[in-house]
């Protein structure tokens, strides 16, 4: 049965809303496949505004991987802004995909990629707009399977009642295997329950309804157990090995609308074993798997040809740690000399950075600012979080950058880390002052600046800090103010130091959603019913709305956030296997409290975090010893014949 495009009904709404182009689709390299010649159809959602969601690499990769398959169709959908949502409700236009403008409700799967828990209310808004029942138990054969992925899917318990399934880890192979299961289930004509059972039994797919949670009288979890035979006790994450075999996105989407990243991105490696104890991404994406030097070169070339972008971002969790980063940067800078193509290297560690690398990166194009992330203000605290960089290292590196011509440096820290004291935080001010003084000295000018940017720490599942007490927002705000006063107290440097921070309240809500269990679900639903959405946007976020909803649902927010957990406690995500051994995480937590650092397993013997043996994976790193050859360039193909 053909599904008609909603565009004719959408079009009259477009002149009346903000930034209508975001709803139009037609991005370069997007595609609309024929509905009836496909038998498995995916709608992929990034639950935030188009300008944030479009550049998301995960969505782009899965969109392309799925659409390459014959008989499989994938289209994208994003959160519509509140002005559009109101018009759609008034006109009876349901949540649509931007590719074919087809109703999301008509797809087989609605896969939602959660980078952050603050997208949960946007999921409910999209389900409601789509005409899909909010609760999984109320859905029938006519509704898509609502599937969560992304980092937040490593603890989907707070949204368990809204999800049919969640998939943990890398999605590339998982979506193809799920597609095969769904195709067979359709051929066999089995019902929704049976289809979900098949997915659960195939491995790597978590179906919350097949697990029951029992609680102790004090509120802690007693156990989480399957309620169907052959459903695994623990669901394991997926790991893609050999990134060179998965050079996606090959044809990156280029939007007409303005988005948060106006560049082409190439993931140069996945995973990180630096072992920063606060970092969920680094813990759940192990082991390190590098894309090879030549693999990177091929992707950059194909991507630039396909997009026309003039900036290439070399992405990873710590890009300067690629075993051949020097050769990558030099090779690309040589290749694109004189073409106005610039490179950027986000996420650079202080100790892995050197000025030669920065010079290569900025050789052909615009020289952007430099960002370093010491994360912790004091040496002691940096031992606790295992981010081993000394103050001298930092000051020296930044001074070298000033000496090499940079004038603006950004320093990123967190407030609210375990064991933190006021003194730890105040050392941030001292570090910033030292940086400015050293910069003035080496440049012989007062024209150097640094910006101190502060994020609030939120303990995350599957990290050594999963047991930690989160700092209450009052203390967070008090420390932020102390730090501001300290920066301003030295009038000789105050004007050279910028200070950016957010108050502590949104972090508490993120903490509730990060380490919550199934009892937090009703809070999310209540917040959405009270008008909550776009919680990642300060102009839409309301702390009071969240607290009121928690009270109504009888949920003690402090119990989920500021309470420290004991070793014996069953955590809501214990049945979801990131590969990390819980014993190892606990011992790393104890090491943190003892201010013991731990090196990276790329350069020391295995310390048994558990991932490789549990997942059957291994570290994949170079060097390959290869080099990037120059590209053959056609001189002015449009010249006069």
């Amino acid at each position: 049965m053909p599904v008609e495009s909603l565009f004719p009904r959408l079009e009259p709404l477009l002149p009346t809303v903000q930034k209508p182009i975001q709803y139009v689709g037609g991005e370069l390299n997007s595609q609309v496949k024929d509905w009836d010649s496909c038998d498995v159809r995916w709608a992929i959602m990034y639950p935030d505004a188009y300008e944030v969601g479009l550049p998301n690499q995960g969505v782009m990769i899965l969109y392309e991987v799925l659409n390459e398959q014959p008989g499989v169709l994938a289209e994208r959908t994003y959160s519509v802004w509140p002005d559009m949502a109101a018009k759609m409700r008034a006109a009876g236009v349901p949540q649509f995909t931007v590719d074919g403008h087809r109703p999301v409700k008509d797809f087989d799967v609605l896969g939602i990629s959660f980078s952050t828990e603050l997208g949960y209310t946007n999921m409910l808004e999209a389900l409601d707009l789509a005409g899909i029942p909010l609760h999984a138990r109320d859905r029938d054969e006519s509704h898509p399977i609502v599937l969560a992925g992304g980092h937040a899917a490593f603890n989907p318990e707070p949204i368990a009642e809204f999800l049919d399934a969640a998939v943990l880890g890398d999605g590339e192979q998982a979506v193809l295997e799920m597609t095969a299961v769904l195709r067979q289930a359709k051929l066999d004509g089995v019902d929704r329950e049976q289809t979900l059972l098949r997915l659960a039994r195939a491995g790597g797919v978590y179906v919350p309804r097949f697990y029951d949670t029992d609680y102790l009288p004090d509120g802690r979890i007693a156990r989480v157990v399957p309620n169907r035979p052959d459903v695994p006790f623990r669901v394991h994450k997926r790991t893609v090995m050999d990134l060179d075999e998965w050079p996606y996105p090959k044809q990156p989407l280029v939007p007409l609308a303005e988005t948060v990243h106006e560049r082409m991105s190439v993931e140069i490696f996945r995973g990180c074993t630096r072992g920063c104890r606060f970092c969920q991404a680094g813990m759940i994406t192990r082991p390190v798997r590098e894309r090879s030097l030549t693999g990177i070169g091929d992707m950059v070339k194909a991507g630039l040809d396909a997009t026309g972008y003039e900036e290439v971002g070399l992405l990873s969790l710590s890009s300067a740690d690629h075993s051949e980063i020097g050769a990558v940067a030099k090779g690309l800078a040589d290749r694109y000399e004189g073409t106005q193509t610039s490179l950027s290297l986000p996420s650079t560690r202080v100790d892995a950075f050197n000025i030669d690398l920065a010079q290569e990166i900025s050789r052909n194009g615009r020289r952007s600012g430099l960002t370093f992330a010491p994360e912790g203000g004091s040496e002691r605290l940096r031992k606790v979080i295992n981010k081993m960089v000394s103050k001298d290292d930092l000051v020296n590196t930044v001074t070298t950058a000033y000496g090499a011509g940079w004038r603006q440096v950004k320093l990123y820290f967190m407030v609210g880390l375990p064991t933190e004291t006021d003194e730890d935080v105040l050392e941030i001010a001292e570090m910033a002052r030292d940086v400015i003084r050293a910069g003035r000295s080496i440049t012989g000018t007062r024209d150097v600046r640094c910006t101190v940017s502060i994020g609030g720490f939120v303990p995350k599942p599957h990290t050594p800090f999963q047991w930690a007490s989160q700092l209450d927002h009052e203390t967070t705000d008090r420390r932020l103010k102390l730090l501001r006063d300290a920066i301003n107290s030295d009038r000789s440097t105050a004007k050279a130091i910028g200070y950016r921070y957010h108050d502590g309240k949104p972090g508490i809500v993120e903490g509730l959603l990060s380490r919550g269990d199934r009892r937090v679900g009703p809070v999310i639903e209540q917040v959405w019913r009270d008008g909550g959405k776009f919680d990642g946007w300060s102009e839409h976020f309301s702390y009071d709305r969240w607290m009121a909803a928690a009270e109504k649902a009888g949920v003690d927010v402090a119990w989920y956030t500021t309470r420290e957990r004991e070793q014996s406690e069953v955590l809501p995500w214990d049945h979801l296997d990131s590969g990390l051994d819980k014993e190892w995480l606990w011992s790393d937590w104890q090491d943190a409290l003892a201010e013991q650092d731990l090196d990276d397993c790329r350069w020391i013997p295995c310390f048994d975090c558990g991932v490789c043996p549990q997942m059957g994976t291994d570290i994949q790193i170079g060097p390959t010893g290869k080099t990037l050859l120059p590209l053959t360039v056609v001189k002015n193909p449009l010249g006069v014949a």
């Binding site: 182009i21 370069l28 007409l256 303005e258 106006e262 026309g308 106005q340 449009l638 006069v640 014949a641």
Partner: protein, 267 residues
């Protein structure tokens, strides 16, 4: 940011300036001018147009925009000038760039700009077509006549710096209404509007019709710019590229004359 002067040679200078006429059709009418500008820059790179760049730490391709239809308004006649660092063939450039741009932004003409000529100086007025679904021809004719017989029609528009008032009547050179494709239940307005500051847009003309005749379209109207260019004596809008085309013809003739001369001359 570094304050050092850029190292290395300055970018190669422009050798040819080109004027492009392009459209904004169908769904692409919802692009803003900034969207179009970004799409153009990327399309120029994909089409391997040898753009001339500005000097400095943030080199930008040399592109100058000549007016721009507002978001939501379609156009058959938008103009942009680009400068290239190596001479290009106009037809090859047109088809390569057209292919690189999304369907709906179509390059309809490319001419070479003679040295010293200014395209913005030739743009004096626009010819708009405004389709009004749900507005009958009779109502439209009545509104047009009320508008044209008014001395002035002051309308308000919300701008970034607050509300601005402007006289929509003063900017309108000509206006008429007709049935869209013979359908008397859907009128189309033909309006010639002089370019003034602040600009009077199709929206402002419609606001004027609401004020003088209480004309309120039940669904959003669809405006299209048919032409922009010099105002002709008869109150129409001329082709702003005509002088360049004449110049090119002249240049071609001159070159042909030279060749003929060369062929005819004793060796």
């Amino acid at each position: 940011m570094a304050r050092k002067t850029p190292t290395g040679p300055p970018p190669p200078p422009p050798v040819q300036r080109l004027r492009l006429r392009y459209t904004k059709r169908g769904r692409l009418r919802f692009t803003s001018h900034r969207d179009i500008a970004r799409a153009f820059e990327r399309a120029l790179r994909r089409a391997q147009v040898p753009m001339a760049y500005s000097a400095g730490f943030s080199p930008h391709p040399k592109i100058s925009w000549v007016g721009a239809a507002p978001t939501g308004v379609a156009s058959e006649a938008e103009y942009v000038e680009i400068s290239v660092a190596e001479r290009v063939d106009l037809d090859r450039l047109r088809s390569a760039l057209d292919e690189s741009l999304p369907a709906g932004i179509d390059i309809t003409e490319v001419v070479e700009a003679p040295v010293g000529s200014s395209l913005p100086d030739r743009i004096e007025a626009s010819h708009w077509g405004i389709r009004l679904p749900g507005v009958g021809l009779d109502a439209a004719l009545q509104a047009v006549s009320a508008f044209l017989s008014a001395e002035s029609v002051v309308v308000e528009r919300l701008m970034k710096d607050g509300k601005r008032q402007m006289d929509a009547r003063a900017a309108v050179v000509a206006m008429s209404a007709s049935a869209t494709d013979g359908d008397r239940s859907c009128a189309t307005l033909d309006v010639v509007v002089r370019h003034v500051t602040p600009a009077v847009r199709p929206d402002d003309v419609l606001s004027g019709l609401r004020i003088v005749a209480d004309l309120v379209p039940p669904v959003p109207p669809e405006a299209t710019r048919y032409a922009q260019g010099p105002l002709t004596e008869s109150g129409g809008v001329g082709d702003p590229l005509a002088p360049d085309r004449l110049h090119a013809d002249g240049a071609t003739r001159a070159a042909a004359d030279l060749e003929q001369e060369a062929a005819g001359a004793p060796s």
